[in-house]
């Protein structure tokens, strides 16, 4: 099935095939293509932790994330602009998405105060005072030269009462409109709106309607993976995604485990980001075709087998589980480096498999095979 490419204001998003609600396609950006469904590696402070940019590219990753909150505080948006933008700064000529900073202000900054127009807060680094409004947020992302900008929003805490979720969502929708108005539209660049509304179906619908009225280059589902659990997350997707525009990319923010990703793709999500593969890699946890392993476990001390025989990353193609175990036991940096590389490579191989499966209309078979593989470890050990 070949759907005609659609030109949104900033991007061309080309759907190549669908399989039920799932789609595979290409988001054409000023910094090159992003094949969807896509997993974007998280590079908070202008670096995917423990990875060179070359290594990130070698995993098959096409788009990385930067974090507006972290980058505005250090090294500063003006400085990044003066140095040629974030792409050049971090040696990533491909697409970059930056989040709006709203989430990190809520989780990291001190003395934050939200008002109608934005939020004032103190840096967690040096206590300096800063203000973020939709207009400032758009200007920061323009200074970064961000490919995919995100509107300023409030990530509604979970759980939230209906009233709290409603007023938070309404504020985010006002900020979304102000963000759109302040966003400097350029060809191949775009701005994504963010659906909020906690786990309340009618709030999610109102949020979708508000965003569609404004009109964005892509639509993110925010406020999930914040403690609600996978069933509630999927239920929220079930009531939200069918109402999102078909001709624009859909991005589930901050998600998730490989199974979360499969479930969300099955519901029509195109883009993902999550710290799981990088953070897990630094703490000796490996995601593989046969499940999750903790490489610190003593059972690996003498294991000559590769971590994941199906994987071509350096951790798997060059070393034994015993070596990886040794590196973590000895506190050597190469342990986190190799396991981060592996986890990102595994996530990218999962996304490649998903894209291929959708192309040939076999996503449910593929998902069943992958899920059966994950259970092997529990059975065999």
């Amino acid at each position: 099935m070949n759907i005609t490419p659609t030109m949104t204001a900033g991007f061309r998003f080309q759907t190549l095939a669908t399989d039920g609600p799932a789609r595979t396609g290409i988001l054409h950006t000023a910094h090159g293509p992003l094949e969807t469904p896509a997993f974007m590696a998280v590079g908070t402070a202008g670096t995917v932790k423990a990875m060179t940019a070359d290594a990130v590219r070698a995993t098959g990753c096409q788009c990385v994330l930067g974090n507006t909150y972290h980058l505005m505080l250090r090294p500063g948006a003006e400085r990044i602009a003066a140095l040629g933008g974030l792409h050049r700064f971090m040696d990533w000529p491909g697409p970059i998405l930056t989040d709006s900073g709203g989430f990190q202000i809520m989780s990291l900054a001190a003395l934050r105060k939200i008002d109608r127009d934005g939020v004032t807060f103190q840096s967690h680094i040096d206590g300096s005072r800063h203000r973020l409004t939709p207009a400032i947020c758009m200007e920061l992302q323009r200074l970064f030269d961000t490919t995919i900008s995100m509107v300023l929003d409030e990530c509604t805490p979970f759980p939230a009462t209906y009233e709290a979720a409603e007023s938070s969502m309404e504020m985010s929708m006002r900020w979304a409109r102000s963000s759109r108005e302040a966003f400097c539209q350029r060809p191949g660049y775009g701005l994504f709106g963010i659906v909020q509304g906690s786990t309340y179906a009618d709030l999610r619908l109102r949020s979708v309607r508000a965003l569609k009225d404004i009109g964005f280059d892509g639509y993110a589902v925010g406020g999930l993976a914040v403690g609600e659990g996978q069933p509630a997350m999927l239920a929220t997707l079930d009531v939200t995604v069918p109402h999102l525009p078909e001709d624009a990319p859909r991005y589930l923010m901050g998600v998730g485990t490989p199974d979360d990703i499969l479930c969300a793709v099955e519901r029509g999500i195109d883009m993902f980001d999550c710290v799981i593969p990088t953070r897990a890699g630094r703490t000796a946890r490996a995601y593989t075709a046969s499940g999750v392993y903790n490489l610190r476990n003593a059972r690996f001390a003498d294991d000559p087998a590769p971590l994941d025989p199906e994987c071509e990353c350096p951790a798997c193609s060059r070393h034994s589980r015993a070596y990886l175990h040794h590196l973590f036991r000895a506190g050597e940096m190469l342990g986190p480096m190799l396991l981060t590389w592996h986890n990102l490579a595994y996530y990218q191989s999962l996304m490649r498999g998903i894209r291929r499966a959708i192309q040939v209309g076999e996503l449910s078979d593929y998902a069943a095979r992958v899920r059966a593989g994950w259970k092997m470890q529990e059975v065999s050990r």
Copy 2:
């Protein structure tokens, strides 16, 4: 000048050219060639810190060091042997040199007790008791499948009285003989003796004579770079190196700064190892053609220039000084990764320059140019 290759018991050491006391050549080993003068990267626990094996190779490094003390304690020599040896374990098919562990026992282990035949000590990791004798030391290095083994010795502390240095040296010479007797000779593998004697010329000479009587595949100068200062180190080389066999490689252990290396090459040393480039890389210090820089320094915050325009490593070819500065300020692992890479690349480029200069008989010109470059930074900043 082309000197006929010499077959020592284990290695073929081919001198290609000389320039005064300096020589350039090739040590042919069971695991491939080592071009000399050579700098060997330190991989204490089976990993060059913050580097993949591929990255170490990319710097031009041909031989890495492992540490017998660290590896015997963790992961253990029998385990490494069962996993196919240290080459396979750490993905380094090239030559590997392991030190004897004597130095680390003195500096790291608890409750060490030296007797005539060896040393008993407690692990700094878990307090377990261990014993190292020349025979055990040879067996450990055989289990690692070490290309270049070192005799068990005592690195005489500095300063030492004449009497202390004499009795320490004499013990090391007894251990050297026992090491040679216990060493399992195989083609392409070899054992190096270690000259001791602190800064006392006559003790050094007696040590050289003792080692030549025993006969080794290479001769190391030990007990230097332990606080005596460069003038005393070079004075000791001046009285030692001329008496070492011409047809075997000469290795100055634990040395040093780029200038130390130049000075020692000028005195006929062929091999070096040192933690300086890796340790400095982890603490933001960069060795370059124009001197040493501390990348944490605020003056680099906005500097768009490459760290070292002459260097082709990823830190220099892909990034600005401002980015490296940012990584260290933000505590990102990529900072130590990139700067370790750079420092090792710089050391290897220095060794390549030294080898070429000796080939064409222009070592003193080359050394003068390199030293003038190092002073640029002091002048311009």
